[in-house]
Amino acid sequence: MNRTLSRWKLFALHAGLSLLCAATLYPVLWVIKLALSPTQTLSMSANPFPEAVTLDHFRDVLGSTDAQGRWLFGRQLLSSLVVSGATTLVGLTLAVTAAYALSRFRFPGKQSGMQLLLVTQMFPATLMLVPLYSILQKLNLLDSIGGLVLVYATSSLPFCVWMLKGYFDTIPRELEEAAIMDGASPGQVFIKVVLPLARPALAVTALFSFMQAWNEFILAATLLNDTTRFTLPVALQRYVGEYKTEWGHFAAGALIISAPVMALFFALQKFLVGGLTAGAVKG
């Protein structure tokens, strides 16, 4: 509404925003400094820029190998990618169909099912670990990437389903009916009309599923027993010892892990606003 901000106001606005950005980025710069500095320890300094630069920490983390000389980082990266990618795929497939049904069809148990979805989110996840472990053993899915993917995909389902359902609710039914009249089968309606229209929500849901799987480490550390199949956060955990933290390695590893998520985040950020709020704003 204020199309004509005075010059001073504009200056103050930019100054304020820059300051806030600086404050937000300071911790990140600090980590970058740790990653680039030659020491493994923290140093007492407020300066967020490194005094000396070395890539040793990155080299160590990226080049880590195991006793057999296998390239550990490469395998762990692959493992992370497979786990996160498969989680996104499986999670999204399950969430999209379920959310569509919840949004469009009437069937018994729908309301209580939706409530149950929410309710399970309120029980602390760490406490589900103990029973989960036994169930995975019964299913022969312990120490397997498949098991991890299933656990991730299902644990993020309630959130994904709720978000997608909210978005589907905003898509007019008439569009689907128009497609039916145009001669589309139920499957075609779903794939050619509903899904393309839900793209913002799909993008955001995919992003969250991917992030959740990419970042998680408690379950991964508990369920996986093979170093070469560890996901990256589990590998990172190794640099943080009980008595001693290898800050340089930790920082370098943290940056490496965060980088892909950040890239995805920025690529998809234009969907974030619409995908997150459409359900609430329009509905």
Partner: protein, 359 residues
């Protein structure tokens, strides 16, 4: 090209949502090639009926025949019908061209055929320059035309329209009405049209079906309905301003009501409801009904005056006269114009002779 046309027959259609009965047993015959308008107030079941014909809803009871075939369990895409939605329901992620081609692609028509049909429809609807735009970048009238184009390219035997003009402004609506009529003439297909706007019904239809509360009230040519409404609902629904209704009783050779007495027509006895079209009444210095002018709707030289009379509100035409709010004036019927209904309004007892011109 000989138009593919189809007749529609509905037998005892019933539909309810939960405890809410929407359609209470409707029988309807649509003859091939006609433009049938289904009209009624909102919630009267007309849209539901259209959706049942389209196959978007399942009737709870009754049979639907299209082109002589029972369609009760046939899915929409095999019914060979096209539908234009109230909100147009254009696919926002597709261009105009893709929107129109979608149905044809689903039917796996050859590319050349698709392009040809889209081009033809675009020419017919003057959409040529807009083909590569997304619906977001179109005006209301343009979207409307795309919605029609989408149906036209498919060349269905039966067109269904669900209040297609209700989202347009008045000028566009008049224009589009004209185009629709032209379209019907050009294509010659059967069209079923739902609206709550009686003007659209009167101007477009070959026949009008008036619905109220899930029941078909009357089916017939527009003028027949206007002149010979089967009950007070139809009588008041069609025509603008609505027909005036007053309670009266037969006393000898007169209908006597509160503050008026009119010469009786027909053989109705006892309590009745009298219907008087405002067009048939004149405001003046004399007449059987007297009232105070509450509002004036001047259309130019002539117009309508709305009076408060002892028998209730009455609308009547005036010409030239100097009519003001607050005046006390008289209303006089122009000839033999009385419609007589039973006191509960469910049945017509007498209609005036239809005259040729209705000024």
């Amino acid at each position: 090209m000989r138009p593919r046309v189809s007749d529609v027959r509905l037998v005892g259609i019933k539909k309810s949502f939960g405890d809410n009965v929407i359609v209470k047993g409707v029988d309807l015959d649509v003859t091939p090639g006609e433009f049938l308008v289904m009209v009624g107030p909102s919630g009267c079941g007309k849209t539901t009926l259209l959706r049942i014909i389209a196959g978007l809803e399942q009737a709870d009871a009754g049979d639907i025949f299209i082109g002589g075939k029972n369609m009760n369990t046939v899915p929409p895409r095999e019914r060979d019908v096209g539908m234009v939605f109230q909100s147009y329901a254009l696919y926002p992620h597709m261009t105009v061209k893709e929107n129109m081609a979608f149905g044809l692609e689903l039917r796996k028509l050859p590319r050349a055929e698709i392009d040809g049909r889209v081009a033809e429809a675009a020419r017919m609807l003057e959409l040529g320059p807009l083909l590569d735009r997304k619906p977001k970048a179109l005006s209301g009238g343009q979207r409307q035309r795309v919605a029609m184009g989408r149906v036209i390219v498919r060349r269905p035997k039966l067109f269904l329209f669900d209040e297609p003009l209700s989202n347009l402004d008045t000028a566009l609506r008049v224009q589009m009405r004209g185009e629709l009529a032209r379209l019907h003439r050009t294509l010659g297909v059967t069209m079923l049209y739902v609206t709550h706007d009686q003007v659209e019904a009167m101007t477009l239809a070959t026949r009008v079906a008036v619905f109220n509360k899930g029941v078909l009230q009357q089916l017939g040519a527009p003028l027949e309905l206007y002149h010979r409404p089967t009950n007070t609902f139809v009588a008041t629904f069609l025509g603008s301003p609505s027909m005036n209704l007053v309670d009266a009783r037969r006393e000898g050779a007169n209908f006597v009501g509160k503050g008026f007495s009119l010469p009786a027509v027909g053989d109705a006895q006892g309590e009745v409801k009298l219907g008087l079209r405002p067009q048939d009444l004149r405001v003046g210095a004399k007449g059987p009904l007297q009232g105070e002018v509450e509002a004036v709707e001047r259309l130019g030289f002539d117009g309508y005056a709305f009076l408060k009379t002892a028998a209730g509100p009455i609308a009547a035409r005036f010409e030239g006269a100097d009519v003001h709010v607050g005046q006390t004036l008289w209303v006089e019927p122009q000839g033999e114009v009385l419609h007589v209904f039973t006191a509960d309004g469910t049945k017509a007892l007498h209609h005036p002779e239809t005259r040729g011109a209705k000024a």
